[in-house]
């Protein structure tokens, strides 16, 4: 190995380390905080002298944290599903079909993203209540899907446009309907984009707070951000419990994402290879 290459390898590894440290550092600190007993919370040490699991125990006592996680999982999954389905089909139409009004749709969707949610929460609450969705998970699924649509539409349209149009035409010449060409050719090739959007939409719904606070009130429909916002007491902020809760809710997300990435891409690209 030449010195040039060795230096480049070292440089690369250092950059990787720095990157990992920057993104992971605060999370690592959160993990350390989650096993620090309350008494040691103010003693700033890199590792507590008496690590404890009391915070992990206490977050499940006093509130149905499992239920809360389940609620968030269902809401986020359904949101992702709908957003990808509705957004994906619409994005395909925008990318490859001919009709008037494309710019209006994309512009309108973007306009939705430009409006601060705080300003529309009141009329939105009235709409949700009128639809009888108050305090159900559907209130969140519907609103999260709607407000994640602009991102889905814009990103997916871009990715679909990037697939060479010749492939699309070739599929149609071979006898596919436009929709079949979409599912067999475009979707598999755009799989990375789909996975990326899926992750982003899932995480948006997972961590969304304003709508969750306003539309859901009982434990039956509560989601994680509101659940964690309920940890602080009248005056005290239990940093340890909050840290434990955040670790508990983040790890499954990461596992899901790792799994999801591999499976979806494998599942979709398998179709393309055969077709």
């Amino acid at each position: 190995m030449t010195t040039g290459r060795l230096l480049r390898q070292i440089g690369f590894s250092l950059l990787l380390l720095a990157t990992a440290l920057f993104f992971f550092g605060p999370v690592l600190w959160e993990g350390i905080t989650s096993i620090t007993p309350d008494a040691e919370m103010v003693a700033v040490r890199l590792f507590p002298r008496n690590p404890t699991l009391e915070h992990y125990q206490s977050i499940f006592v006093g509130q149905p944290f499992f239920r809360i996680i389940l609620n968030s999982l269902v809401v986020a999954s359904m949101t992702t599903l709908f957003s990808l389905a509705i957004g994906g089909l619409a994005a395909f139409a925008l990318a490859r079909l001919h009709f008037k009004g494309k710019r209006i749709l994309l512009g309108g969707a973007l306009a939705v993203s430009m409006f601060p949610p705080v300003a529309i929460i009141s009329p939105l609450y009235l709409i949700v209540r009128a639809l009888g969705l108050r305090d159900t998970g559907w209130a969140l699924i519907v609103t999260h899907t709607t407000f994640s649509l602009p991102l889905s539409l814009w990103i997916l349209t871009r990715f679909f446009e990037e697939i060479p149009v010749e492939l699309y035409w070739a599929a149609q010449i071979d006898g596919c309907t436009p929709l079949q060409a979409f599912t067999r050719i475009i979707l598999p090739l755009a799989a990375p984009g789909l996975a990326a959007v899926a992750i982003l939409v899932f995480l948006f719904s997972w961590g969304e707070f304003l709508f969750a606070l306003t539309f859901t009130t009982t434990e039956a429909s509560r989601t994680i951000p509101v659940g964690i916002a309920l940890f602080p007491g009248l005056h005290e902020i239990p940093y340890g419990d909050i840290a434990a809760a955040s670790i508990v809710v983040t790890l499954p997300v990461i596992l899901l994402v790792l799994l999801f990435q591999r499976r979806i891409i494998a599942g979709l690209t398998a179709g393309a290879v055969k077709g």
Binding site: L15, I127, L200
Partner: protein, 291 residues
């Protein structure tokens, strides 16, 4: 062509329905409110035309928050884009453990803001936070830095959090975009004798440009509307030096209960963002979506 158009309308109809019913109607309501003086506490509901907008033009707190928001957005988005792109490029080549690093990079975005704000608040804590501990013990600073209570530091502390949280967003999308660049292009370029920078400049950047534009757009929209992190950390203080438009709007709406003026502020935010988007499209989006 006609059947294609029909199919097209059919495919976009769910999206149109959702957006109209759930998003555009409340936005229209807010627009309508912006022309009203509406103080529910005093049961005042009155159409006042452009009076709210005229007040907006001379409202010093609006201009202060606009300035804060622009500064925040400019700095945060630039850093996020640079960092996100850098990390995406770094992770583009295969190496053992890449999947894990990708998952780690995702973490800041995966943690709900209400949670990460607390963690960062603790990190920035003047007396017990890790940052000050490391800095003073490392001999870098003399005394503790008042991260969130000093007019200069508070804004930059908030920017750092946003960069930490949002760079993954950029990375995820650019990584996906990088994956769609055919490897043959790289090989061909290398055969032609192109070096690193050449490949980056002539192959990668042009291929990424459309996605970069969308990423830039959405990051700007999000940064412009930033709320949660700053609200938890500083509440807009000290002395309104970190008060962004979102925070001002929130306070006007939910602490002073001026629903009309609050809507006016939201509409003003909207137009600012439209202006910025038009600038992006003008400068960078030279290729328009076709057909």
């Amino acid at each position: 062509m006609r059947s294609s158009a029909r199919l097209g309308y059919a495919l976009i109809s769910p999206a149109v329905l959702l957006l109209t019913a759930v998003a555009l109607i409340p936005i229209a309501a807010a627009l309508y409110l912006s022309f009203q003086k509406r103080l529910p506490i005093f049961q005042i509901v009155r159409f006042v035309g452009l009076e709210n907008y005229r007040f907006l033009a001379i409202d010093p707190r609006f201009w202060n928050s606009l300035g804060n928001t622009l500064y925040f957005t400019l700095l945060a988005v630039t850093l996020e884009l640079a960092l996100g792109l850098g990390v995406a490029l770094l992770l583009d080549r295969a190496f053992p453990g890449r999947g894990w690093i990708r998952a780690i990079v995702l973490l800041p975005w995966a943690i709900p803001t209400v949670v990460s704000s607390r963690i960062w608040e603790w990190l920035y804590n003047v007396e017990f936070g890790l940052f000050n501990s490391l800095l003073t013990e490392g001999g870098v600073t003399h005394g503790p830095i008042n991260w969130l209570g000093d007019p200069f530091w508070a804004m930059h502390a908030a920017i750092l959090i946003d960069v930490w949280k949002s760079a993954p967003f950029v990375t995820i999308l650019l990584t996906a975009a990088l994956q769609t660049i055919p490897r043959e292009l790289y090989l061909a370029a290398r055969v032609d004798g192109a070096g690193r920078w050449g490949i980056f400049y002539h192959i990668v950047l042009p291929a990424l440009r459309p996605v970069i534009l969308v990423v830039l757009l959405f990051r700007t929209l999000d940064a412009f509307r930033v709320f949660d992190a700053i609200y938890v950390l500083t509440g807009g203080g000290p002395g309104n030096t970190t008060e962004t438009l979102s925070i001002y709007t929130y306070k006007v709406l939910f602490q002073t209960l001026q629903f009309g003026y609050g809507a006016t502020l939201a509409v003003a935010m909207f137009f600012c963002v439209v202006a910025i988007s038009l600038i992006y499209f003008g400068l960078l989006g030279r290729e328009r979506r076709g057909a």
